[in-house]
């Protein structure tokens, strides 16, 4: 099972777009405790996606690990990030893993530290390409990603054309 790190916003996006379970069939997601606490805030407010993520944490499908404090300090000295993104990026650096992140400031930091990053859109495209989701499901997920992910029209169009021209019914 391959491992990947995630920040809170992309994890929420993937859950709202019903892509989290297909992704977890091939990957284990790792988050720092700071991201988990951000998710739990949604649970306090009765959000369904937060309940689902918490359930997956309890099922050990999503793992919680902490980065080294010196890595956190190193990144914190160079970049202004919120605690969730900071710890998630530090964890990706420590474990030398890719990170799922949609935040521009966070991605700037990933580039600075040569950390591989993916957004929720790439996950959708590849889950479809590798036949982990059907065309109908992928189109439905794209609609949700467009609504919640606020991607630019041209980016959504590229994925839409890819899904429409794809082969997996």
């Amino acid at each position: 099972m391959k491992l990947v790190i995630s920040d809170a916003s992309t994890l929420i996006l993937l859950t709202k777009s019903e892509l989290i379970l297909p992704l977890l069939s091939k990957f284990k997601i790792i988050i720092p405790n700071e991201v988990y606490l951000e998710i739990l805030k949604g649970k306090e407010k009765g959000k369904q996606d937060a309940y689902q993520i918490d359930y997956l944490v309890k099922q050990n499908k999503i793992l919680i690990k902490q980065p080294k404090e010196e890595t956190v300090s190193l990144i914190n000295n160079l970049c202004v990030l919120d605690i969730g993104e900071l710890y998630a990026i530090a964890l990706a650096k420590d474990l030398n893993l890719s990170i799922l992140i949609d935040d521009k400031k966070g991605i700037n930091t990933c580039n600075l530290f040569n950390i591989y990053f993916l957004t929720a859109l790439q996950i959708l495209k590849l889950l479809y390409k590798h036949k982990f989701v059907s065309k109908a499901k992928a189109l439905n997920s794209l609609y949700n990603l467009k609504k919640n992910g606020r991607y630019k029209e041209n980016e959504v169009k590229i994925i839409y054309d890819f899904l429409k021209g794809g082969y997996y019914e």
Binding site: K2, I12, G42, K105, H130, G149
Partner: protein
């Protein structure tokens, strides 16, 4: 848990004071309660607007902005969506992410590909 309170004095416009007195009469609630509720609601809105502004100006990340506005990240993303605020990721970043994704899934395919069948040749000796 008991909340701590501080006393402040401030000057308000007369029409605002009249409106608060009106609400107090209609709801039969103390004026001080209405003042407190109004400030509480007002500051929530001010923080929300400030968080959006700082996010758009790229001074805060999405989780930082959600934290400032005391909102769940999922709700804050929805709010940005309703305001038509796009996630302005440069095209270059998306192409980089595409490449990274291909590499990541290539590894998965390798892991999942069936192992090559090893055919053992057996020497058959004639008796």
């Amino acid at each position: 848990m008991n909340k701590k309170y501080s006393s402040i004095s401030l000057r308000l416009e007369n029409d605002l004071v009249e409106k608060i007195e009106q609400v107090s009469r209609l709801e039969d609630i103390e004026k001080s309660v209405i003042y407190r509720q109004s400030i509480k609601k007002g500051i929530k809105e001010i923080l929300k607007e400030l968080a959006i502004k700082l996010y758009v100006e790229e001074k805060l990340t999405i989780s930082g902005a959600a934290r400032l506005s005391d909102m769940y990240i999922g709700d804050f993303m929805e709010l940005l969506g309703k305001r038509g605020i796009k996630n302005e990721l440069p095209d270059e970043y998306m192409r980089m992410a595409d490449k990274n994704a291909e590499k990541l899934f290539k590894k998965i395919n390798k892991l999942n590909s069936p192992k090559k069948k090893v055919i053992y040749k057996v020497n058959k000796y004639k008796k």
